[in-house]
Amino acid sequence: MSGARLRSGDAAREIGVEGDAALIDGRRVEFERRLAEGRVEGIAIRGREHRIVAARDGRRVFVWCDGTAWTFERVAATRTAGMRDHGQDLISPMPGRVRRTMVADGESVARGQVLLVLEAMKMEHSIRSPADGTVRLRVREGDRVEAGVELAQIE
């Protein structure tokens, strides 16, 4: 049985899968896989078909299910218990300038809170915290940043 703790938005679940049964926070759910080229593209539960498309990008898993897209993140893996959580980095996607920092380094921040405002391509973009935690700012107001630069980390 592989198991992991996954988070989507405010919800987090301990979920393990063995064969055609899943344990979701201890609740057993039997399912059938529908495969296309080895990928799971459908999951049937109690006779109901759910269309599935899934993709993974680093730590994140994207799942489209019956028309709705969900984003999951692994919180802590049961099978890799003891591994240190690396925290979450915020990376600059393109060249720009830090217009304002809205929090102080080391401050406790809530998920969704605006950390800083980046100006890029003549537009202002609010950078929000992806999680509750302590913020480590890696930039200061007025800094010019290149693409790929770490702006902050949430611990």
């Binding site: 299910c65 028309g67 890029a120 537009m123």
Partner: protein, 491 residues
């Protein structure tokens, strides 16, 4: 005309090249340096780089585009919408270079480009114009007094603006000085001209526009209306044809006014007259868009026509299709367009990333005009619209059912989009009834994320534990030079 350069990117560049190819034309794409792998750059017979730099130095650079046309042996240019499509200078430069300009005469662009002058011209042509400040009013004192005459709230607009950009609402005389200063600053920064004017802001309005079309024989017709009241941030996200707000009498009156408006500037080609329809069923001219509109597809679906084909024909001096001017053109059924934006569905802020999966709906009554595909990189450099879903059905309820079904087939993974908002609009009682106004989106409950169903949790667990490199996963970073440019990534 043999080789058409499409001076644009994204879905409209692909859409234009499709019709051009169907007509047997060769098509030429242009692309900014960072756009060399974009779908539109690969979709045509030839392509030319516009060099490095932001939009101002590439898609907005007249010399670079003309040089690309020369280098590729193009003999005509279609500007699409946005970018240089409403630049009279570009239209003139294209003509001077001996190329066919697929757009209206530069004089018509200019006449409608200055919104303040256009309002006066339309008034003179007998087109009802939205009450606003008189043309001479430019000082703070004049504008405050005009605002008081019009009655608050009022809208501040840039004369050189358009398309809902740079508008702001003022609710009282006390707020006017600060708002005017900010309005002039924005107008100057965005459009290079700080001239502003005021319009009365009416509550409970609908935004209804008419497609107009002229050819070189001087004929000008309207091709019926589009209902564009579903907006966020003053920009349209869902459009439909016909409008549930019009009866035959009002449709005829507005259509005639639209033809008068276009005739006043001797219009040739495809254009759009935008009206505001107030709660008392009075209509008011807002502005004319002297180009193809994003939402032109709902007109095509209900009328059974191809506006881009007609643009290309008329640009070559051919007359418009006979059925457009002989009175036999009748809309059939109902069409709805939904714009997919890479943005969060609540605050509408642009999002970037890579489309790890992208699958379009298909089947009866479905059309997708897309500028992206699986693997496309979505940046913040350009307009965040990714694609348009256009549905057609024999009647409005059938079209809504089809829209719901098609939205539920559309797979977009890896970049956050406004899909939840589109679904909320289509599912809303207000949209379903057809009785809604421009505040529809603001009246919707915020789309709640809710909790994933069991099937999604299970699929996530399966994908999370799958070996890397299996199908459906992102390519390993080493094999993909674009990963590092794929936007806001949570490391």
């Amino acid at each position: 005309m043999r080789r058409l350069l499409v001076a644009n990117r994204g879905e409209i560049a692909v859409r234009i090249s499709r019709t051009a190819r169907e007509m047997g034309l060769e098509t030429v794409a242009v692309y900014a340096g960072d756009d060399a792998n974009a779908l539109h750059a690969r979709a045509m017979n030839r392509s030319a780089s516009l060099g490095p730099g932001a939009a101002a130095e590439t898609y907005l650079s007249i010399p670079r585009i003309l040089e690309a046309a020369r280098a590729t042996g193009s003999d005509a240019i279609h500007p699409g919408y946005g970018f240089l499509s409403e630049s009279a200078a570009f239209a003139r430069a294209v003509g001077s270079a001996g190329l066919v300009w697929v757009g209206p005469p530069p004089e018509a662009i200019e006449a409608m480009g200055g919104k303040l002058a256009a309002r006066a011209r339309m008034e003179a042509a007998g087109v009802p114009v939205m009450p606003g400040s008189r043309p001479g009013a430019s000082s703070d004192a004049d504008l405050v007094s005009e605002a008081t005459r019009l009655g608050f709230p009022v809208l501040i607009k840039a004369s050189a603006g358009g398309g809902g950009k740079g508008m702001s609402r003022v609710d009282s005389a006390a707020d006017m000085p600060a708002a005017l200063a900010e309005g002039r600053r924005l107008a100057s920064a965005s459009f290079g001209d700080d001239t502003i004017y005021l319009e009365r802001l009416l509550a409970d309005c609908r935004h209804v526009e008419f497609q107009v079309f002229g050819d070189s024989t001087g004929r000008i017709v309207h091709l019926f209306e589009r209902e564009c009241s579903v907006q966020r941030r003053h920009q349209k996200i869902v459009e439909e044809a016909p409008s549930a707000a019009l009866d035959p009498g009002l449709r005829r009156a507005m259509g005639e006014a639209a033809v008068r408006a276009a005739s006043a500037v001797r219009y040739v080609g495809a254009g759009t007259i935008e009206f505001l329809l107030d709660a008392d069923r009075q209509f008011h001219f807002l502005e004319m868009n002297t180009r193809l509109q994003v939402e032109h597809a709902v007109t095509e679906e209900t009328l059974g026509c191809d506006l881009v084909r007609a643009q290309l024909e008329v640009a070559q001096g051919l007359p418009m299709p006979a059925s457009w001017s002989d009175g036999t053109l009748v809309p059939r059924g109902h069409s709805i367009e939904m714009r997919l934006y890479a943005e969060d569905p609540i605050e509408f802020l642009p999002r970037s990333g890579r489309l790890l999966e992208y699958r379009e709906p298909s089947g009866p009554g479905i059309r997708v005009d897309s500028g992206v595909e699986r693997g496309s990189v979505v940046g913040l450099e350009y307009d965040p619209m990714l694609a348009k879903l256009i549905v057609w059905g024999p009647d409005r309820p059938a079209a809504i059912g089809r829209a719901r079904r098609a939205l539920a087939e559309w797979v977009v993974l890896g970049v956050e989009t406004n899909m939840p908002l589109l679904r909320a609009v289509i599912d809303s009682e207000a949209f379903g009834s057809g009785r809604y106004s421009t505040d529809l989106v603001s009246r919707l409950p915020r789309p709640a994320a809710g909790e994933p169903p069991d099937a999604a949790w299970i699929a996530a667990a399966l994908a999370d534990s799958a070996p890397l490199g299996a199908r459906g996963d992102a390519a390993p970073a080493a094999a993909d030079p674009w990963t590092s440019a794929s936007g806001w990534r949570l490391g």
